[in-house]
Amino acid sequence: METVFSAKAWATVWQYRATFLNGLMNTLGSAVVGLLIAMVIGFALGLMATGSRKGLRVIARVYVEFFQNTPLILQVCFLYYALAYSGVKITVVMIGFISLGLYHGAYVAEVVRAGIQSIPMGQFDAARSQGFDYVDTMRHIILPQTIKIILPPMVNQMVALIKNTSCLYIIGGADLIATTYNFVTGASTGGAYGPAYLVGGALFFCVCYPLSMMAGRWEQKLKARDRIKPEQTDDGAKEAAV
């Protein structure tokens, strides 16, 4: 076995660099498709949670609590074995998409709910007083205002999703962690533990850090904009005087 940080181990990793990049691409693919599913589920549940129908609110609550309070890795395993044993033909990649989507859907739902609830009641009143029904109120007035607020936490969800693709490794997914694991235990490539995991980690970091930074900046900008008081300017005074 090699010394973990030997030059030879690094050389092996470099030789197989395409494998790592491929693993990263798979991870990003799962994350993107997972996020799309999570957004659909999250917006549906978020709207249910803020609506006036009690039955729908309860369903949304139960869903969120269930998925937030059990480990993702358990959900992945359950889905894999339950589906495999019930004879459903489904690829590991598909299971990855679905389990990530279901799990993060619960978090996106909370983000959407909080976003909608942060819009002042007066906005709903104004829309209703003009004769907008529920769907049009949401579409033209509430959601356009909500989206700006929820973009930063949404990017944070993306980061969490990218990292959580690592759970797919338990079912032999094609994600970056599984790639790294296969590499360090492989017959021809095995042994380069240190360099391989460092490279895997660096790849995760290179994708996640810019996203986190972007979300942070975005949030700061929104906060700064909120601090700007509407100018009670000379402008207004002048007009009043005219």
Binding site: P120, A126, R128, D136, I141, P230, A240
Partner: protein
């Protein structure tokens, strides 16, 4: 135009309206006054269905206001000006005015914008058409809100304490527009503490207290010879 029939409104255990009967004829300028907590804001919000009545009925032009008919009735009959303006912050002033006519009344963009411009001129803010509402002063925002309600071209406008959130020096610019509106044939229902406005514009004044309409009549009746002790006490405080 508007008819309330034994309207009760309860929030949990608190009964805010305890049986309101009221008729507002077409074109009337009705002013609702009363101490805070008397139910006057709830009353006006029941008229356009922002609050659902617990019992009793609200009719607009003979049609029953319910959770289901609210959107259609408001679209066709009424607009509202709020204490907190409630302009849409993600839209420009022009878009604030044209959104509902274009989406709900299927008015063309050109037509909606022309009408909006006319109303912006009327409130003296045509030059602000392309700015966002948060860049404007409270008085300007409220004038925009009035222009928005006019652009719906509906026969009724509700005003829920339209000057209460304004800095004192901005109250008059809003009142002036409302007084000018008083010459139109639009039906106005106004919850306010501005007695000068009531005196100048109102055809009819209603005094609310404790969830009841305690007294109603012409402004002359109210300001010269109120019947109830409670009304007199309230007016003496507010008129100073």
């Amino acid at each position: 135009m508007i008819k309330l029939n034994n309207v009760h409104k309860r929030f949990g255990h608190l009964e805010v309206l305890k049986g309101i009967d009221l008729t507002v004829p077409k074109g009337e300028k009705l002013v609702i006054i009363g101490p805070s907590g008397s139910g006057k804001s709830t009353l006006i919000r029941c008229m356009n269905g922002l609050e659902e009545v617990t019992s009793g009925e609200v009719y607009i032009d003979g049609k029953l206001m319910t959770h289901k008919t609210r959107a259609a009735l408001n679209r066709q009959y009424s607009s509202m000006v709020f204490q907190q303006f409630n302009l849409y912050p993600h839209l420009t002033v022009m878009e604030n005015l044209t959104l509902a006519p274009m989406k709900l009344k299927k008015v063309s963009r050109e037509e909606a914008e022309a009408l909006a411009m006319e109303n912006l001129r009327r409130v003296g803010l045509a030059q602000k058409a392309q700015v966002y509402p948060t860049t404007l002063s409270g008085g300007q925002q409220q004038r925009i809100a009035i222009a928005r309600s006019l652009t719906m071209k509906n026969p009724v406008i509700y005003f829920d304490e339209p000057t209460s959130a304004l800095d004192p020096e901005m109250v008059q610019e809003v009142l002036d527009i409302m007084i000018e509106l008083g010459h139109d044939d639009v039906t106005m229902v106004v919850v306010t503490h501005e007695m000068g406005f009531a005196r100048e514009v109102a055809d009819h004044v209603v005094f609310c207290d404790g969830g009841y309409i305690l007294e109603q009549g012409t402004p002359e009746h109210f300001f010269t010879n109120p019947e109830h002790e409670r009304t007199r006490a309230f007016l003496s405080k507010i008129l100073r």
